[in-house]
Amino acid sequence: MENSVHSYLPLWACLASLAAVPLIVLFRREIFLRELVTFGAGALKFAFVLAMLPIILEGKVIVLTLVDGIGGINVPIAFRVDGLGMLFALVASSLWILTSLYAVGYMRGLHEPSQTRFFAFFALSLCATLGVAFAGNLFTLYLFYEMLSLSTWPLVTHHQDKEARTGGRTYLSYLLGTSIAFALPAILYTYVRSGGEVAFGPEAILAESNLDYWPALALLLAFAFGFSKAGLMPFHSWLPGAMVAPTPVSALLHAVAVVKVGVFCIIRVVTGVFGVDLLGRLGVNDVLAWIAAFTVITSSLIALTQDNLKRRLAFSTIGQLAYIVLGAALITKLSLTGSVLHIAAHAVAKITLFFCAGAIFVATGKKYVSQLAGLGRTMPITMGAFFLGSLGVIGLPPSLGLISKFHLVVGAADAGEIALLCVFLTSTLLNAAYFLPLVWIAFFPKKGSIPAELDRPFSWAGVREAPWACVVPLAITALLSTGLFFCSGFLQELTGQFIKGIGL
Amino acid sequence: MILTILSIVLILSGLVFFLGAAVGLMRFPDFYSRMHAAGKGDTLSTLLVISGFALYQLRDIHDLSHDWPVLLVVLKLLAIVVFIYLTSPTSTSALADAGWEDGIDPVIEPGRENHLEDDCHRTPPSSPQP
């Protein structure tokens, strides 16, 4: 039996940002106070999450049942924090602070309207993210999952123009549509098959049920496509569509909260619902793995063709997410470790990239890859961070990405899936192909390809960085991405706890 | 016994008048003549039939001090008769009047007069207020 600790910490962590919402609305006239509240909530949240860290590192699990279930007939709102959740929560809550900071700079820099609403929903979506991370059963998971979809919609459509409307429509119709059409029935089916048990625990929910191959496959796919935040093809196109959002939102969506929630859910499903044993016995995970592999390759290829920087990043994200899914689908110890670590790695790296994209937009108003030439001269910090971030995404040292990718690749080898191993390697090449040239021309533009005022030797005087509030966070994340390569120990520890918890 | 026979006679004659009314209602040519059949025939025959039954009820009275409720029943029957007396001609003539207002032309035997037609061309009467 796992040793569980009863604590209200996860609840507080969730509520910290939720409680910030009314305050933010209340202080809508006092901009400073409002931002202070945002930061305060972020810090508080992070503190709560950190407070849980030692407990988890001890190998314990925090359990909290909020609304009590009676006689097993209903589904309580319950929290359960294990290594996976902890890791995700850490990533999310820490990055929220940075994102907030960045958002302040970004929003002010662009004089965006309706900032109160923006910050309020931002806080709300973070609450939902943590809820997902700490969810103790499928229903709580689903609850926060939907809450996240809904609370990010106003963020995506922040500009309230036609483009935003279209993007928002795509966004919601994909996310909600798939979750209602696939995930909900899958959950219900699970609920019924397991005899009313949906709580995550040391035992997978469906471990006892003797599912056959086809139902299991259908269920797995229903989950995988249902949690379409994971961006598996063919339900990926919401992500590029959501690029209409302001960049802090994109950062949050594509690096931290939304997409990671998707893959997080899939990992949860694979490990917590089916269980490694069942999947291994039935072999349905192969299908998932191949879908993920297909997504990896395709999205990387598409990313190559994109000129819009944010869209390129978005397709990159799709590919990276598919890595994680693929790792989970392989269900070996190493691959799972890799995919969990990749959550963190990719989060840190990709958020850096988005921050950079946003900073470029704030400073120069440029959105397209083709316009970036020579930008390294005027925005050295930004582009430097961009470089570090792309290293993380590609999986080159020194970045956390290397560690996670390494685990993944080895895991694939471990599972004996040579073909998938090739997929990993190919896609890494492709990643490099769509990021590195970009960095290259930013710093070393071809003669004549850039405007004259940029075509001059580097000097600090010519630096036109974005506001400090934008630059500082992206620098920090870039450093984080690198720094974690060196001190990834506690992350690996957390992952280890998780892997141990699921019995691998 | 006498009472019974008498009541039977009354009732039967009432039925005969009813029959007359019914036939009249069928055969008369126009609304106004039908009114004659209906209004008169029914009044009298109701009177006859009901008083026939009233008489029959009287048969039961042996001892007034004990059977007074029956007497009251008889009185109630008579009340019906009185009431019908009151209302039947009223409704008959009200309907006849209404018929005129509604624009039903009476069938008038040739050569007989129709003063109403002459005086009152079915416009609202404009007589001075009494």
Partner: protein, 518 residues
């Protein structure tokens, strides 16, 4: 007095109506305090009933004290199924009453006392239907409800509400008459009108229960109630009746009347005909479920086609009725479907209340009757819009609103009964609802409000917070009930475990009665 709670719950509004009739005609200010105090009293009684039922099981109240032999007098029965419904009725009524403070009859403000008399009598009828244990009494109270509904619908000034009320009247009367025929057949074969009595006889006599007259009785009772609840082929009256009635009327009619009819159906199934008997004839149940599926599909499709908010909501009610009927007839052994239905009665009453309150507020203070008119709503009345959003999410079935949980129980029942098409229908309908509501949200969220956009030619590039935002929330008396309804929607969702547990004690209690054939 606590022994008399079952009758007090409906006497309070009755006396309230009398008081308005006596004193309110002269002085209209009397009305609202009377209405509110009567309803609050009812609410207290209803809560008292719930507590008593929780503590001591089914509560029988013998009107006029005629206890034995059974069926002499009229029995009021409060059990775990209907007592929560009483509470919800009281709550929704209070919300609607608060909402109508200033605009009872919309156009004819002089008719305020009449509006409130009808309002209270409607509550009397609904309470009565819910709590009675006598089959004929249900008919009388259905008629009370129906007549007040006709009045409440037609009290509005629009031309079309009269026609709508007339059609409703025709359909409603035919429906009630069908119900009456059914009860007549029961009486003819069984010689009793007391529900429990009928049940006992039917349970003990299988051949009687299968006789042609009883079957016909059941068919007619069902068809009658279906007419009342606007089950699909018989729904024709509903959209016009509710969408053209004044907002205040719609706020109480739409949430409650159909739901209470559904309750009557459940009551008939559970404690008149007996679940065991119905479960033995599962093919009939499945036939009804198919009808329900058609109803859901039709309701959703019609909703998609509507351009007016209220009409769309009305079509959704039709779909929701389909949910409930289908759920009740699933016939799964654990009775999850039935549980879901009862829970959905509560949930849907609150959700619909929330939505209609919002729609009423929008119509009144935003001048929005059509979907397009809603643009700029979030900016203008963010709080009201939030209430609407919560209601919409509940209808879609997003957790943690109650709509999600009711759907969940329904689906569970369907899965256990193996009725996959019903599951699919529910989910498809949820999707359609999602489309519908997000279409609205989108319109409300985007776009300028053409009327109110003075001085805000350019919405972009400014920070709006620095200037006075064109915020004009509806007045408090409309806003408070709306937000309260929204809060209750969530609260009911969060407490679903407790509520469902409570309901299930009722269902299982009756189930044991069935099996022992007491």
């Amino acid at each position: 007095m606590s022994d008399h709670l079952p009758v007090l719950v409906l006497l309070a509004p009755l006396f309230g109506a009398i008081a308005i009739g006596l004193f309110g005609m002269r002085d209209h200010r009397v009305c609202l305090p009377v209405v509110l105090s009567a309803l609050v009293l009812s609410l207290c009684c209803a809560i008292g009933i719930v507590l008593k039922v929780h503590a001591g099981g089914t509560l029988d109240y013998f009107v006029a004290g005629w206890k034995a032999p059974r069926g002499i007098g009229i029995v009021l029965r409060a059990d775990a199924i209907n007592s929560p419904i009483l509470v919800v009725i009281a709550i929704v009524a209070i919300l609607a009453a608060v909402f109508t403070v200033r605009h009872a009859g919309e156009r004819d403000t002089e008719k305020t006392p009449h509006f409130y008399i009808l309002f209270l009598l409607l509550c009397v009828g609904l309470f009565g239907i819910t709590i009675t244990g006598d089959a004929f009494n249900v008919f009388v109270l259905i008629e009370v409800t129906a007549l007040t509904s006709y009045g409440l619908i037609a009290i509005g000034g629009s031309k079309r509400c009269k026609v709508a009320a007339f059609h409703y009247l025709i359909m409603g009367t035919v429906g009630a008459s069908f119900y009456l025929i059914g009860v007549g057949y029961l009486y003819l074969k069984l010689g009793s009108l007391n529900m429990q009595d009928i049940h006992t006889i039917l349970a003990s006599n299988e051949s009687l229960a299968d006789s042609r007259a009883i079957r016909t009785a059941f068919v007619f009772i069902l068809v009658g109630i279906w007419t009342k609840m606007a089950f699909f082929p018989l729904h024709g009256w509903l959209p016009n009746a509710y969408s053209y009635s004044p907002s205040g009327s719609a706020a109480i009619l739409a949430p409650l009347v159909t739901k209470v009819s559904v309750y009557v159906m459940v009551r008939m199934m559970v404690s008149v005909f007996g679940l065991d008997h119905l479960e033995a004839n599962v093919e009939w149940g499945h036939f009804v479920v198919w009808l329900a599926i058609i109803a859901i599909a039709a309701g959703s499709t019609m909703a998609l086609a509507q351009r007016e908010i209220k009409k769309m909501l009305c079509c959704l009610i039709i779909a929701e009725v389909g949910y409930m009927v289908g759920g009740a007839w699933l016939g799964d052994p654990q009775r999850w479907g039935l549980t879901g239905t009862v829970y959905h009665i509560l949930a849907d009453a609150l959700m619909t209340s929330c939505l209609f309150l919002a729609a009423g507020a929008f119509a009144k203070w935003h001048g929005a009757a059509k979907l397009e008119d809603l643009s700029g709503l979030f900016r203008k009345m963010p709080l009201a819009a939030t209430g609407f959003v919560v209601g919409g999410l509940a209808i879609i079935g997003v957790p943690p609103t109650c709509g999600f949980y009711s759907k969940f129980y329904l689906i569970r029942g369907a899965i256990e009964a193996g009725h996959w098409v019903y599951v699919a229908a529910l989910l498809a309908s949820s999707l359609v609802n999602a489309v519908l509501f997000f279409r609205i949200f989108e319109i409300a969220y985007f776009g300028k409000n053409p009327v109110e956009s003075h001085g805000h030619g350019d919405d972009h590039g400014h920070d709006h917070e620095s200037e006075p935002v064109v915020r004009r929330e509806p007045p408090l008396h409309a806003l408070i009930p709306l937000l309260a309804a929204a809060a209750l929607v969530i609260l009911l969702g969060l407490c679903n475990g407790t509520v469902v547990e409570f309901i299930r004690t009722g269902l299982i209690e009756t189930a044991t009665v069935v099996s022992t054939g007491r």
